[in-house]
Amino acid sequence: MLAELLNPYYLQIGSFILINIILAISIYVTLSSGQLSLGSAGFMGIGAYTSALVTIHFDLPIIVGVIVASLVAGIFGIIVGLPSLRLSGVYLAIATLGFGEVMRVFFVNWESVTKGSVGLSGIPHIGRELLNLFRDAGLDPSSIGLRNNQFVYLLVLILLLLITIFIIWFFVRQNNSRVGRAFAAIKMDEKAAEAMGINITYYKVLSFTQGAIVAGFAGSLFAHVLAYISPADFAYHRAVEILIFAVFGGSEVILGAIFGATFMTLLPEALRVISEYRYMIYGLILIFMMAFRPQGIITENMVQWLKKKFSSKRGKSHGSRN
């Protein structure tokens, strides 16, 4: 029964949704301190290539690859983020867009390492490694009535779900901390925040680097879930797609990024007819959102309202019991 429910295709889409949520969080984090970075695709590419190369050439376990990838992306984040402090708004967006394109050109041209536009294949797959692990431990998928590939995709999905929940939990916690409040203050008014004694340089670079690490992390997961990457995966279109997650869902709250990524990944899958026109629809969405609801579908007010409604209902039920 379980075997029929678990269609590998749906499991695969589920994994993509989770990776996209992580990507959306990466742009949300940089936006939360008021910086628009279009370099997420570049950082994602750095993460994906680093992890893929490390695991292919040095035979290291995937987890080491992922950690190294996140670190490398983070270092690039500092390198790009520190000088970018001088830039704000539109200029930062363009510089990071330029950074993403430079990275793509390097992936295409550094053929001895990246295999150029053909891309890297044969990257260790998370699911298959986990399957081997379980096999060694004596657990065979057939013993719980699953086919091998179902089991593999299910494992990937569960693992990604745990990782995503951890990341969301981390950033929700951070929002309510000193760091999160500093980000919010800088977003509101940089000069006022500075006058309040907030170290702008530190917090802006911190949020930029966090975004880079998260994007690089998502990139390395992407590489190990697909087992194949090419420079086209990290081009301008990817950057725009990630931007849409945040813009559509709402960039004020983390829930917006999650909603945007989920909705925008499901939309072309649910409506096969439109998947050919997917990017045209993305374009229209951006235009309409900016014209009618620039803060995104889910806003701070909406979350507050939902919370109030939810808690008042709970309060009533409490009251009736007493």
Binding site: L97, V102, V105, M280, M290
Partner: protein, 294 residues
């Protein structure tokens, strides 16, 4: 050999300059980076292909049709992507950037459906005509492109500096509110600016078609990003800076292809963006204050 490369570079650079002029006009007046400019340019190029190859009309007709079509696109862009955002409360300054990215994505993928995703040949009757001057070969196309660019740039400079509409445009660029108080119809000027910028893009599209004999839907993106690099190089909203920046980038790219690694040609523009933004954010020709406050 070097001289030939320089001629190639100047030809390419003069096209870049025209693309960048479209960017810089819009930025100067509206303070907006029009990310859709590259795609409007690409539409101009495709219209050139359709008019000359499919309809078999002469080249000047291609220019006319492309100018009209891109001007209409420019009007639609202003009407649906920029006007709704203007003067609205609580709209961040990033909203127009995102909105025009939306237009660019839409147009690029619309052109996949309209014109096909692959390369389209751009034929013109005098593509192969060339002259030998000493040891170097000069193509007539290059001379035509250069001449058209120079005429356009001079015309635009004259229009901006001497005519009433040009002065109104510059006044609006200086300060929209003050210009409006002084009786400039700023709404009309804004529409006019976007239309002229788009038409310049359309002309550049045909020039690129003539220069490279091939047109594809992806060229809008790379040209758009290069245009951005140029206006950052030359100073945002600076007309002369855009012209000079275009020539510099065209020459730099041609020389890198000739004497270096051609694969990195597309990276030059972006490396330029990053270096200039970090060292001299106001651009080579820009004033200090231009980079602040946005």
């Amino acid at each position: 050999m070097l001289l030939e490369q320089l001629i190639n570079g100047i030809t390419l650079g003069s096209i870049y300059a025209i693309v960048a002029l479209g960017f810089t006009l819009v930025f100067g007046v509206l303070g907006i980076i029009n990310m859709a400019h590259g795609e409007i340019f690409m539409f101009g190029a495709f219209i050139g292909v359709i008019v000359t190859s499919t309809l078999k009309w002469p080249l000047w007709a291609a220019f006319l049709v492309a100018i009209v079509a891109t001007a209409i696109l420019g009007y639609l862009l202003e009407r649906f992507a920029l006007r709704p955002l203007r003067g609205k409360q609580g709209v961040s300054h990033l909203a127009p950037l995102i909105s025009t990215i939306g237009v660019s994505i839409f147009l690029e993928n619309a052109s996949h459906h309209l014109f096909g995703a692959g390369n389209q040949p751009f034929r013109n009757s005098f593509a192969e005509i060339n002259f030998q001057i000493g040891s170097i070969t000069v193509y007539l196309v290059q001379i035509v492109i250069f001449a058209i660019s120079i005429v356009l740039m001079m015309g635009l400079s004259y229009w901006l500096l001497r005519t009433k509409a040009g002065k109104a445009l510059r006044a609006t660029a200086e300060n929209l509110e003050t210009a409006s108080i002084l009786g400039v119809d700023t709404k009309r000027i804004i529409i006019l600016t976007v239309i002229i910028a788009s038409a310049l893009g359309g002309i550049a599209g045909i020039l690129v078609g003539m220069a490279f004999n091939s047109v594809n839907p992806q060229m809008g993106l790379s040209m758009g990003l290069k245009g951005l690099a140029i206006i950052i190089l030359g100073g945002m909203g600076n007309v002369k800076g855009a012209m000079a920046g275009g020539l510099i980038l065209g020459l730099a790219e041609t020389l890198v292809v000739a004497y270096g690694d051609s694969g990195y040609r597309d990276a030059i523009a972006f490396i330029t963006i990053i270096v200039i933004l970090l060292l001299r954010p106001q651009g080579i020709f820009g004033k200090k204050s231009a980079a602040e406050g946005r």
